[in-house]
Symmetry: C2
């Protein structure tokens, strides 16, 4: 898919098909996250991958909106540690993963962590690591073909604040 | 450009040509940022755009590495406000902007804010807004053609932690 089309057509997907995500697509998603830039190239992050339905169900119990993970076929817990803009950098890596997913027809949605203790117990991460976000992935229950619209059409149709409210030219 | 190639070939660029960035490319960069998803679609962010050389020079004095902004032809200050994962969401929007730039041959690099007071004075943002990052854009002084390598070649050549250090399958 064209990169610009991927950027402007990405929408959050919270309901997924039962169809599993192939290994090579999972790998591309994770590589896109690993390759994302970070402050001073510190890469203060780690990705814990859940594909087993029971583990995903347990993870669902730890996020603010468990239903978003209910049908997910892949869950990636993004862990950060150390100083610097780790949440900002996690956002960059997460966006890369979700865009790589879109490019392979896979939908996604970030989920905030409601019960950090339960998630830490599930993931077994180090005490100095924080789970900053939980990404849910799967083939969309209601697929949309990015190529069905032009980038400008996707932009016009987006539920976003108007350009002039968001952008200020100094 | 293919979306996956854009994701894995993106590298930070800190030295830029004098050549200005056309208005339509600037617009695409900003639209990609505006369209990025955010927690509960709150869009708690705003982008302040600097294209004037004097303003960019002043902005350079407010970031940790002023030299990164020295040759920039476009600077975007990302402001956030309110509750929720605003830094994470800012990372998503910034990554979208930098990927849209790459797609048009424009390099970029995020810069941490060293002197928040001076930047606030320059940008004139609201007291409840924080400048979370300053993005520098320009045509790379040493351009690299993403198409010159395959995605796997870009991945293999990347200065990143090994896959097995970053990814854990539960």
């Amino acid at each position: 898919m064209d990169a610009y089309l991927a950027l402007v057509s990405k929408r959050e997907v919270r309901a997924f098909q039962a169809r599993p995500i192939p290994d090579d697509t999972v790998r591309r998603i994770l590589e896109a996250g690993r390759l994302a830039g970070s402050s001073r190239n510190r890469q203060n992050r780690r990705f814990v991958v859940l594909r087993d339905a029971d583990l995903i169900a347990r993870a669902a119990g730890t996020v603010f909106s468990p239903a978003n993970l209910g049908d997910a076929r892949l869950v990636v817990v993004v862990l950060v540690r150390g100083k610097g803009p780790v949440a900002f950098d996690a956002g960059r890596a997460a966006q890369n993963m979700m865009l790589a997913a879109s490019n392979d027809g896979v939908g996604s949605c970030p989920n905030g962590v409601g019960d950090a203790g339960a998630l830490a117990e599930l993931v077994g991460h180090e005490p100095d690591e924080d789970a900053v976000i939980v990404l849910a992935f799967g083939y969309p229950a209601s697929p949309r073909d990015p190529e069905s619209r032009s980038p400008d059409e996707w932009i016009d149709a987006a539920d976003r604040r108007p350009f002039d409210d968001v952008v200020e030219y100094l």
